[in-house]
Amino acid sequence: MSEFLQHLINMLVLGGTYALLGIGLTLIFGIMNVVNFTHGVLYTFGAYVMFIVVHQLGVNFFVALPLAVVAGWLLGAAIELTLLRPLRGSDIDTTMLVMIGAWIAMQSGTLWIWGGVAKSVSTPFPEAPLVLGPVSVSWLRLFVLAAAALLIVVTYFLINRSKLGCAMRATFQDQDTASLMGVNVDLIYTSTFAIGSSLAAAAGALLGPVYVIFPQMGDLAAVKAFAIVILGGLGNITGAVIGGFILALAEELGAGYVSSGYRDAMGFLIIIAVLIFKPTGLFARSERVG
């Protein structure tokens, strides 16, 4: 029983992590329709910024976090301006491949600059966990969960309630018509990608200290993020959050009660199963023919 409770607690913190990974991608992949292979690199980038700012510049942990977010925003804007803008209007596979190229190049660049040896960021949180009866959880993880919740809420309101969010959705549904409404489409492209990127960097900045930091850390994170976004339905923030928790639950229970070798398989099986029964994700957009 206590083991089960522990799995549930783990699921909560892990699910928060996954939701955090998912929301940035929901913007870029779900709304912008760019298969963003640099998502993992931006995640890694956020983590390295934390490392540099905290350890090499000696800045306070809590100050470093927003710096990492800003850095992610800038890098995202730069990627959009240099790599995506010239290919505006090309099909989705072409931009996907450019993103693949950027992923390969940037990941190797990270390796070149910082080497393959993992780094770790020290945090101001106590090492001793919070113990609640039979279960325990680390303070750092609780902080990450809280920060994730905050980011999720902010993103939700940004996309679904703000004028900017409205313009974003309109732009990627019909660019020409959006421009006829007076939307500056170029600006929307850049800022959507930049916001999505800053969310990826935020995830990296929060999770880097939880785990360790190395050049390929983003790969697995990105695959999971894609899965989560799909699971929840493209462009759906609430869906991404729920998708994140479902994936976490499947993995925890899979590892705990089936076989740890198939831990990751559980997640993917869930995805296949969900898509068989709900082919457009858990929260599908309504469509019609004719």
Binding site: D93, I100, G101, I104, A105, F226, A227, L269, L275
Partner: protein, 348 residues
């Protein structure tokens, strides 16, 4: 014209080993050739039905494992106390079985693709590949898991009556790969120019409309998936018998990515695209290796990829064909290439 170009290309490819004596380059050409076959099969799905499979390596890997296990033999226990004991069979049988089993897996994924399209299909294929990888990794009794299947025999061809030949040398393997590649090219070409190919294109461009004129989605997509997977399985089999060791690493995502790169830079939806893209990105690392640091090689690799797409966003072959068409007949509208003409330009 078209035939002449094709024959010339094949002749040029066939002549490589005669003047190229460097075994390392031969090795690179053979592995590249194997991946090109995989890329051609991916192109059948991506370029002609619009479905991107980011788990295509699963079929390749399944082909490799099936072929390897057929020729090595195995002995596994199943739940309920059953055992399957299999004595080694000749690799040529493995090759055929690889195609069949991979094709069957393609059928399963194809059935799924009836329900999910686009991004959802992409994730289903990624998930499928991951699940297959994890099975290969964890079903140690059958696949040896991470301990790898080693000492896979080289492929033997021949008829019982005429004796047989075991393909050990690079030269032999090169011609085998070339032969399979040419066969694949012809098969795909015939398929996409038949009315099946038109049905695929119709589904890709406007599914609702295609269905309304009587095109059967499930049948068409499944057919494409089965053939595509079967070809990928064949490529996997060649790979297993050439490299002679298989471990779950073959399912690595980067291998799928390599095929996707080959297809899209070369030009999806064009027959020659994967071949051109494949030769470039199969051999690029070979040329980069001596001139820069390992990390820089990857950066250059990514850079070349980006530059190609910036210059030729629709892929090398279609973009060049379009320019060529424009140059040849200026008054005609751009992009107005019909089915029948498309290939002539492509090969020109």
């Amino acid at each position: 014209m078209k035939l002449a170009v094709t024959i010339l290309t094949i002749a040029a490819l066939a002549s490589f080993p005669l003047w190229l004596r460097d075994p390392y380059l031969m090795n690179a050409l053979i592995t590249t050739g194997i991946f090109i076959i995989g890329a051609m099969s991916l192109n059948l799905l991506l370029g002609f039905t619009g479905q991107l499979s980011l788990g295509h390596i699963a079929f390749f890997g399944i082909g490799a494992y099936v072929s390897a296990l057929t020729s090595l033999g195995f002995d596994v226990g199943l739940p309920g106390g059953f055992r399957i004991v299999h004595e080694p069979w000749p690799p040529a049988v493995g090759f055929v079985l690889a195609i069949i089993v991979a094709g069957l897996c393609g059928y399963l994924v194809g059935l799924l693709s009836f329900r999910v399209r686009g991004a959802y299909f992409v994730i289903v294929t990624i998930s499928f590949a991951e699940v297959v990888r994890l099975v290969a990794l964890n079903w140690v009794e059958l696949t040896q898991g991470p301990l790898a299947l080693t000492n896979i025999p080289s492929i033997t061809i021949g008829l019982p009556a005429l004796g047989s030949l075991t393909l050990r040398t690079k030269l032999q393997n090169y011609y085998l790969v070339l032969a399979v590649a040419v066969a694949t090219y012809v098969l795909i070409s015939r398929l996409v120019h038949s009315h099946f190919g038109r049905a695929m294109r119709g589904l890709m461009e406007n599914e609702t409309l295609a269905v309304s004129v009587g095109i059967d989605v499930t049948k068409t997509l499944t057919l494409a998936a089965v053939i595509s997977a079967g070809i990928a399985g064949a490529a996997g089999s060649l790979y297993a018998h050439y490299i002679r060791i298989i471990d779950p690493e073959v399912f690595a995502f980067i291998n799928t990515v390599t095929m996707v790169i080959m297809v899209i830079t070369g030009g999806k939806g064009s027959l020659a695209g994967p071949v051109v893209g494949g030769l470039i990105f199969g051999l690029l690392p070979v040329f980069l290796r001596p001139i820069m640091a390992p990390e820089a090689q990857w950066i250059a690799y990514g850079g070349v990829l980006i530059v190609i797409l910036f210059v030729l966003p629709r892929g090398i072959v279609p973009s060049l064909a379009q320019r060529w068409a424009k140059w040849r007949s200026r008054p005609r509208a751009a992009g107005a290439v019909s089915f029948s003409e498309r290939d002539v330009k492509e090969n020109a």
